[in-house]
């Protein structure tokens, strides 16, 4: 983390509304060289909107933003020269091969003929795309297309990289590979803003996480700090009947933070002390005669984060104005 240098990406009071839908309200952050900012939020939170505002694809209603020291609103050309963008939907030319796609974007970034060839070969090599580089992109699997999409954003060595839900729809292996890519780019000094709906992903990659919901900042900070609030595992207990649910509720009444989902006959209990506490709780329920049909210990999900931070489930799809 470099706190001495000026940040590469800054947002200050960024706001955007589409008609009467508030997509983003007063969001501020800064990403330095080599840092990764994770923008975490449910569907409709405003993640894509934030990316679009910063990459000059959308006009800013209020507030300001800079990339590489250039103002996004008044110097869009300079900003576009400094950024690489991989949007939520893959933006590659399906009729061209992977190599031709990179050639196209290299030309559009005005790389000289002499620079283009080695750069493209290097990228194909480094991101393990040689095997399918000469097939039309229309024949690619989802993961291959996604990778081409991200590599296309890297052609001109951007100072700032924007990745909108880069791992959505990838299998665990491709996802892990992509994480490595992000880490190595950050290690080389690229400032990266990535959006995700996945707490685990934000935790693994980001130096700083910004949680947003319906356009508003809900929480921000390094993942370790956020995890202090929400990082506990959750014991999920499913019971047989509503009567069991009532018994269980009475039995664990001292655990005030337990959340009871009556429809699913499920109890979520935050766990601070790992396996021992879980076993104790399960035994206690069993002693009370609660019929447990299933249970699991799981890592906190985005839902849990929101629960812990706001006391409510994410509202998502912010169609109504707050």
């Amino acid at each position: 983390m470099s706190s001495t240098k000026a940040p590469v990406i800054t947002a200050d009071g960024l706001s955007k509304a589409f008609g009467d839908v508030v997509a983003l309200r007063d969001v501020s952050f800064a990403v330095g060289s080599g840092e990764v900012l994770g923008l975490l939020g449910p569907n409709g939170a405003g993640k894509t909107t934030a990316v679009k505002l910063l990459t000059t694809l959308c006009s800013i209603d209020a507030g300001s933003a800079t990339v590489a020291g250039c103002d996004v609103a008044s110097e869009p050309g300079a900003v576009r020269r400094a950024i690489g963008l991989a949007g939520q939907a893959a933006a590659v030319d399906e009729k061209l091969t992977g190599r031709e796609n990179l050639e196209l974007f290299a030309r559009l970034y005005k790389l000289s003929r002499r620079q283009r060839r080695p750069r493209i070969d290097e990228l194909l090599e480094r991101f393990d795309m040689v095997a399918f580089a000469d097939r039309p992109a229309s024949t690619y699997s989802g993961g291959q297309r996604r990778r081409l999409d991200i590599v296309a954003a890297l052609v001109a060595n951007p100072l700032a990289l924007f990745l909108d839900e880069p791992t959505a729809g990838l299998d665990p292996r491709s996802r892990a590979e992509l994480w490595d890519v992000v880490r190595s780019l950050a290690a080389e000094g690229t400032a990266i803003l990535l959006t995700t709906q996945n707490l685990d992903e934000a935790d693994r990659l980001a130096d700083e996480v910004l949680v947003i919901d319906r356009g508003h900042t809900v929480a921000s900070g390094p993942p370790e700090v956020l995890k202090k609030d929400v990082g506990r595992d959750v014991l999920e207990v499913h019971v047989a009947t509503n009567a069991d649910l009532a018994t269980a509720e009475a039995a664990i009444v001292q655990t005030a933070e337990a959340v009871i989902d009556r429809g699913a006959r499920r109890i979520d209990i935050p766990i601070a002390a790992g396996a021992a506490q879980s076993l104790g709780l399960l035994r206690c329920l069993e002693d009370e005669g609660v019929r447990i049909t299933d249970f699991q210990l799981r890592r906190p999900t985005l839902d849990d984060v929101f629960l812990a931070l706001t006391g409510a489930r994410p509202t998502g799809d912010g169609a109504d104005t707050p």
Binding site: C58, A91, V92, E100, L108, Y109, A152
Partner: protein, 242 residues
């Protein structure tokens, strides 16, 4: 940008085939089906009358292909990336319209060759080249209109349907296939001065070697008008993502 559109065009020869087949369609259908009636009625050699009209219509079809192709481009997502690149945004559309103009040119030459096989005679080689050049230019101007419609609507199938609304009136209520004298009086002013008619008349003059600059001036005015309106408009519509 042109580099991309050239590769894409070369990879889709069926588009060229389609353009040529449409031209041939009109040539053969109109000549053998309506040729007798219209030609005899107006007392002209219908094939000589028809061929320049078919040229212009082929170019207009090319503009329709631009419209549908560009809408498909916009739906594909790659244009989203173009918007974020440090490049002139006019180039995104110009690559397409120029690429389509090149395809049009090839198509027109093929249609001209077929017309000559059917017995059509140009006045001179120079006239033929000028006629095909002018037709390509007219098609180019119209393809910007097609691009603007595509940038506004963005759904390929809607764009395809909509194109019928401008294509057919321009095509049929024109002097491309029939002399204006045979049309009802109220239609004649439109049929005489709408761009496809003046284009067809100007191209006809070039083919026949007639020196009459009136239609040529009109068609140039139309082309400039179309470009002045639709080049900035299509870029603006294309840029807006809200």
């Amino acid at each position: 940008m042109l580099w991309r559109d050239t590769i894409r065009t070369a990879r889709q020869p069926e588009m060229l085939v389609f353009a040529v087949v449409m031209g041939v369609f009109f040539l053969v259908l109109f000549n053998y089906v309506f040729g007798g009636a219209i030609g005899a009625g107006a007392g002209i050699d219908y094939l000589q009358f028809l061929v320049p009209g078919v040229f212009v219509i082929t170019a207009l079809q090319g503009a329709q292909q631009t419209s549908m192709g560009f809408a498909a481009d916009l739906a594909e997502g790659v244009t989203d990336r173009f918007r974020s690149l440090p490049m002139s945004q006019v180039a995104v559309i110009a690559g397409r319209t120029l690429g389509d103009a090149a395809r049009n040119l090839v198509g027109l030459v093929l249609v001209a060759l077929l017309a000559m096989l059917m017995g059509y005679r140009f006045d001179s080689a120079g006239g033929a080249i000028a006629a095909i050049g002018l037709t390509t230019a007219v098609g180019f101007a119209f393809s910007w209109m097609g691009a603007a419609i595509a940038a506004k609507i963005r759904q390929p199938d809607m764009v395809g349907m909509l194109s019928m609304f401008w294509l057919f009136p321009l095509m049929l209520a024109s002097t491309a296939f029939t002399p204006a004298d045979s049309m009802p009086g109220w239609l004649r002013p439109f049929a005489n001065y709408q761009p496809i008619s003046v284009a067809a008349d100007a191209v006809r003059n070039l083919c026949e070697g007639t020196t009459d600059s009136g239609d040529l001036v009109l068609v140039l005015a139309w082309m400039i008008g179309l470009l002045v309106v639709f080049v900035p408009l299509s870029v603006r519509l294309y840029r807006s993502t809200e």
